[in-house]
Symmetry: C2
Subunit: 384 residues, 2 copies
């Protein structure tokens, strides 16, 4: 096998594929079919923003033994040729008559014979290929759910991966430090969002796949909207949430800023969220379940008389902005040494007005190690 590779030494990818293959053997899967940008980057090192174009499907087939086979559009041959993958099969895509389907079926037949083909089918996954292509595979093979196989391997990060995520977090830390200056120069929320993205790039992000946030009197109603062209006002709480990428790895944490005079309620809830995060930082251990993390943070908020938001209070991250597990009351995923996670407690200030606080950690045997620089206990105030 080739020793050339991208982002990491080839050995890193070999270890990942070996780990997948051990689980495939236990599940009785003769091949593993991967279609997502994240799974393909994870196993091969193939990193490109070209996934933004929905025109072409891409496939990686992991056999029971040996290196993966790439079954991809010709436009990707050059880049895939620079990874550790040697067996690269291409077609001239997009082809309305046969967009890689027969090439993929032939490859799977060669690798799996009449055996089972696993592919992720469950929560937090989707098949990034035409549904008609997936139905053709259903006809040709015994397709099995490989969600757990992929998740149990990807969720524990190597030290090399943790180093990458730490670097992405450092970029965000540096950009957050610029926010007071940005806000004093630009009062409009959409302009603050633009300048913040520029700061992330200036501090070394390769690209900025995600920035969201909100601003409103004493809190915000929404954390996923694009920025409106509204001016920031005294009494607003401004929240910025990052998803800057460095070498294909994400950081994902937010910071809150009070614009001039914060309300007592906002100060109180921010302090409670900081406290709930401290509780998780102190108590989380490998062997706990994802729902335990939810319980620790929700109880810490309730003990202070605050009302936690619905949804999740944290999640995994790595080669995507968010990964499983989800800190909800129902997620029983075991927390393991080496998982990179966000602690993201949120609570209501009044009605539907909320605050969200977030840090990134790696879970170690003796508890969480911060990857983001811990937010200050008191809500920072930007005077305008």
């Amino acid at each position: 096998m080739a020793d050339r590779s991208l982002i990491f030494p080839a050995e890193e990818y070999r270890r990942r594929v070996d780990a997948l293959q051990r689980r495939m053997a236990r599940a009785g899967h003769a091949a593993l079919l991967l279609t997502s940008a994240a799974d393909i980057f994870y196993t091969t090192g193939f990193l490109t923003r070209f996934w933004e174009s929905p025109a072409r499907p891409w496939f990686v087939v992991v056999p029971a033994q040996g290196a993966p086979i790439a079954v991809i559009p010709g436009i990707g041959a050059d880049l895939m040729g620079r990874t550790w993958i040697n067996d690269i099969r291409t077609w001239d895509a997009p082809d309305p008559l046969d967009d890689g389907v027969s090439l993929l079926i032939g490859t799977l037949r060669e690798v799996a014979g009449a055996g089972a083909v696993g592919t992720p089918m469950g929560l937090e996954t989707h098949a990034r290929a035409p549904f008609a292509t997936m139905m053709a595979l259903l006809e040709a093979f015994e397709l099995c759910d490989a969600t757990a196989i992929v998740h149990r391997v990807r969720e524990v990060k190597s030290e090399a991966e943790i180093t990458k995520i730490r670097a992405a977090c450092a970029v965000a830390d540096a950009a957050f430090a610029d926010v007071p200056e940005i806000v004093r120069g630009e009062r409009r929320l959409d302009q603050v969002f633009r300048r913040f993205q520029m700061a992330l790039l200036d501090h070394g992000a390769d690209w900025v796949s995600y920035v969201a946030g909100g601003a409103g009197q004493g809190g915000y109603g929404d954390v996923i909207s694009p920025a409106a062209d509204m001016p920031l006002r005294a009494g607003d709480i401004l929240m910025l949430d990052t998803g800057a990428v460095k070498d294909g790895y994400f950081g994902d944490f937010d910071r809150n800023f009070a614009i001039s005079a914060p309300s007592d309620a906002a100060l109180r809830v921010h302090l409670a969220l900081h406290h709930a995060t401290d509780a998780a930082l102190a108590q989380l251990r490998p062997g706990m379940l994802a729902r335990d993390a939810h319980r620790i943070m929700a109880r810490a908020l309730e003990d202070l008389g605050e009302r936690p938001c619905g949804g999740r209070l944290g999640h995994g991250l790595g080669v995507t902005l968010t990964e499983w597990p989800s800190f909800t009351p129902r997620d029983v995923t075991e927390l393991r040494d080496g998982m990179v996670l966000t602690l993201e407690p949120s609570a209501h200030v009044y009605g539907d007005c909320i605050l969200v606080h977030e840090e990134n950690i790696v879970l170690r045997a003796d508890g969480p190690e911060l990857l983001s620089t811990r937010a200050p206990r008191d809500l920072p105030v930007i005077e305008i």
Copy 2:
């Protein structure tokens, strides 16, 4: 129906949904299920970068008559509530026991009864929901391919959409004008990529979903790779390709720059690509097929003795970086008045070293109207 809406007046979305419903009626589909960011933005105005998180599926159900129904994670209720959609059904996602599946099946049952449910299954589409969820739908409904229904409606842009795409192109035009100054300040390719993204934001992009490019002696081997930390050298051709977003709409065109002394071969091929683009600008008309656009540009290159690259020589664009049709020898999609398209001829300089040239147009009854500012005929030279 509500008159509030995001990005466009509600009437724009109503017209789109009416057009889908007319085609649904002809196809005999009782409901249309949409799962992708683009289709959901197109029908509702729901615009967010939160799609970057693969954790949750999102669904929009278009009934035979009336407004769409949103079946979405609770975290999106606030933003969806600001669109023209009134019927918003949410669940507390991610839920490992039932992540919206029963809510979606109940909604489809209510809307479609025992009738057929269409959803895009074909080329340039995928179902952005767990494959297990899609298989549950296959069991519960007669699922039909609605690719053509969605494509024939989305591919013809309204004047309101064309205005948005023109604005996105203007952002890229302004950023390309900064490239000589950027290159004189930053010699390393990855730093040029960063500064170029910052320029796009500075000139008004809401975010930068795509930047790719290449650089090499006399041309480049690859147009989808992230930038390496290599220095630009005299004789390199630098290409930058944008996908900056403004109000949810993309521009997508590239520009080439010679670093100091370009080779005769690079100058010759660049001129041929410019000429091939001129040929398409002069000859393209509604009623032609996508393959005719390929033929016009490929022949223009061949007549000058150049060798066109494989793959496509242009494509649609709009709410995604690339849309159908594809200018390949096999694509028989009819070109229609109001389609927004890229003309993207590419040719070999030597071996696998290529140059790519790109413009954005809207096709009118009397031919193409440029949305990007036409690139100069002679390759611009940046002296370093």
